[in-house]
Symmetry: C3
Subunit: 325 residues, 3 copies
């Protein structure tokens, strides 16, 4: 084992890098990742038996359960014949409950494996783990209100897959833009590319914060806040729909008022959508897109978004472990 | 991926079929399954390293824990070099606890794998999952008071293995015949074949329901209700013993009265059994067969029944995934 | 499957033996194990893809969670391409919660696999499981206040790896020597070899019991009780440091008094250690070795001890399953 590089920019070279934040990525690295992701999709679709990760052990260390992300990483490793060590809720396990520190737990598990995938409820945990682990890279599978970079990357890839580009795009972001971790990560991703426009549709209480708004604007992304579905641009390439959580509203009357304005129905899609767009959602959804829409071929949240999540993770595991260049 | 066929009769062709109920099986399909099961037993016994499921991913989605069925399916997949994604109690996982529907969960997991094995506490859940899953087949690993088809199949196979046939057999069913899911499934299986006789021995409170009794009778199975061990036929090929659960009795005095009548001891086996029979139990047992009987070579509940469960599941996985014809 | 040999002495032949206690080992068996362990280290370090356990299924049956031991055994099996069936907290699972006995659970799981690794909170559980299992060997992964033989073996191996021998060594044992399961196992291991000296440093309340003291003395180990760090021998080959648990003290004032005397700091290591020693700890630690010491090259508790644990388990699995002679 050789000491790994510290957490840093990817610059087109993923080998032994920690994947903690979308901030590590430049456009070149994203395109490289997507090229490998496309290969992975081919492997998975044709059910070729791939040995790319044969002999590699990936620890899935989940301090909070997340069936979708867990299943996606597990499937990604196994599609490539990699092994997994699966630890869910280690705080219920004896060592941690006896008072073992996060540091010691990370040090112990890095001795058993080639890579750690970490899910943690606290912002900053992935960065911390990346600094602690001396020999193996760490991939962030979501750290609380922090980041969830593989979710943002699969969203970007889904758009890229449909339109063959990541610039000159117009997107609609709807729902809770104040708290939504995935919204902000995707906006950050789009801001790396030129001439993108994001329409922002949300209840007043859940608008993008002034700070975030200014940040993204500075980075070159064109942001347009709208208040009504009628203002959705007819030429949007994608809608990125998210939950408006009841618990975010102090005044429940306000919630009831806005709730129905933020539901996608067949009629909404027909009245305000266009033929070539895609309808995305980071899941889980709890009613904000009606099941009647699921069968529409523009609805990709239960189809290509899910599959792309697995392909992106297959690509990241292979690149970070140095099995693909 | 190609769209799978809808849940339906097997008719000798298992590929891409959901396995939800024993009602899907005819005698031809059962014999075909058993032929493959025998091959699987050979593979497992000789510890040959089989690659039949190499490259396949099976999701074990268990909405309630069941160590035996879970272990059996996991072992079945791994005996053939298949991979598993293991999700136990997804309702504790964040997506589902955030309110994700059963539909969305099934759609998500089918994107990660080639086949879903579902355990669920609610009757009808397996059928529902089979209808939701668009691309991958679903195998029912028990849905509440509904069905548990692989248990019934392993019971049938155990009888078939011993006697080389599934017709012209005489069996004794004892214990709780009113509520026992496995009893009814096995009776259904036997009713597909000709000239079988089932003696039914149970407390009055736990007799087979009139409806079930008439149903099985109509299908050609000969049913004989008895009230005393003395009436057990001397030529029974098998005894299928089950638990009489205390909680089924409103009157605890009644329970105490019948309890001891339904315990298999060495003496009971000697007085009322015969040399060539087998003694079966679907497990778990909690006292209704005494450990002193375990060493008897007729007792198969902890030996061939358990192993046959794994072989049946190996066969089903291989057939449904189209790896064996 | 052939019936396995009963639990007994190893005498240089591990195949099909249960590994329940360090008492089964003689020096010859330990040296043989260490020779194989060294090979395993080479396999793991060079990330060669080994197929030594290909086709084998190992059940990890953990009646209490232990992330480190669980992860170590899982990694050991997977490093050698073995499969695992992972059952954590089976008492929450339906069969066991319905009242299934420990006997039946062991009989069921041995039908699915080639070897059972058992973790259990009750002393004697591993021995019991070894007696129940008729066909597959059982490895003890810790049974309450009983034994944890693979921990003792990894400790011995860590010392052997450093000094190339297991005799003529001087060690310091510090902390809770009354209750520490690992301390006593390691002392037992050292007592098999000649001319070893153990210095024992502990609070009065946590001294080695008179019974243990006399036992080890009889077996040829030289024991020297000391009360002060100043009495630590300058030529110690290793320090084996353990936790002094607050809950062991009836009088909390006594605890506060002794607590600080049993913390390893940089200064303590500088004042009382020597250049060639190693500093060991069975983990988890909760403050008794300060993190400032972790970077010292003599500190092996987060490095070679952890890795050696995986190598020892790789070796044991291979030997017991008869894949290496």
């Amino acid at each position: 084992m050789t000491q790994k590089g510290l957490f840093n920019k990817i610059n087109g070279n993923f080998k032994n890098k920690d994947i903690v934040s979308l901030r590590q990525f430049d456009t070149k690295s994203i395109y490289k990742l997507f090229k490998v992701t496309k290969k992975m999709a081919d492997i998975a679709k044709h059910a070729k038996s791939s040995n790319i990760l044969k002999g590699n052990i990936v620890t899935l260390l989940f301090y909070e359960p997340s069936s979708r992300t867990f299943g996606s990483f597990a499937a990604a490793a196994k599609q490539l014949s990699g092994h997994t060590i699966e630890i869910i809720n280690p705080t219920d396990f004896s060592s941690v409950s006896k008072g073992e520190t996060f540091e010691d737990t990370i040090r112990v598990f890095e001795a058993y494996c080639d890579l750690i995938v970490l899910r943690h409820p606290e912002k900053g945990a992935a960065q911390k783990a990346a600094e602690i682990a001396k020999f193996v890279p760490v991939i962030n599978a979501g750290d609380g209100i922090g980041e969830h970079p593989t979710q943002a990357l699969l969203d970007l890839y889904t758009i890229y897959q449909k339109f063959g580009k990541l610039n000159n795009l117009t997107g609609l972001f709807a729902g809770d833009l104040l708290n939504g971790r995935t919204v902000k990560s995707l906006l950050r991703g789009l801001s790396l590319f030129s001439n993108n426009i994001a329409y922002l549709l949300s209840p007043k209480q859940l608008k993008l914060s002034r700070e975030d708004f200014d940040d993204f604007k500075k980075s070159g992304l064109k942001l347009i806040e709208i208040e009504n579905k009628k203002d959705i641009p007819k030429n949007a390439n994608f809608w990125y729909w998210t939950r408006t959580q009841k618990e975010r509203f102090k005044n429940k009357k306000n919630y009831e008022e806005v709730k129905n304005k933020f539901i996608v129905t067949k009629k909404v899609l027909q009245d305000f959508g266009n033929k070539d767009m895609i309808l995305m959602h980071p899941l889980p959804r709890v009613g904000e897109i009606l099941p009647e829409v699921d069968g529409d071929k523009r609805a990709v949240y239960l189809t290509s978004e899910i599959r792309n999540g697995m392909y992106i993770r297959m690509a990241l595991l292979s690149l970070v472990l140095g099995k693909i260049k």
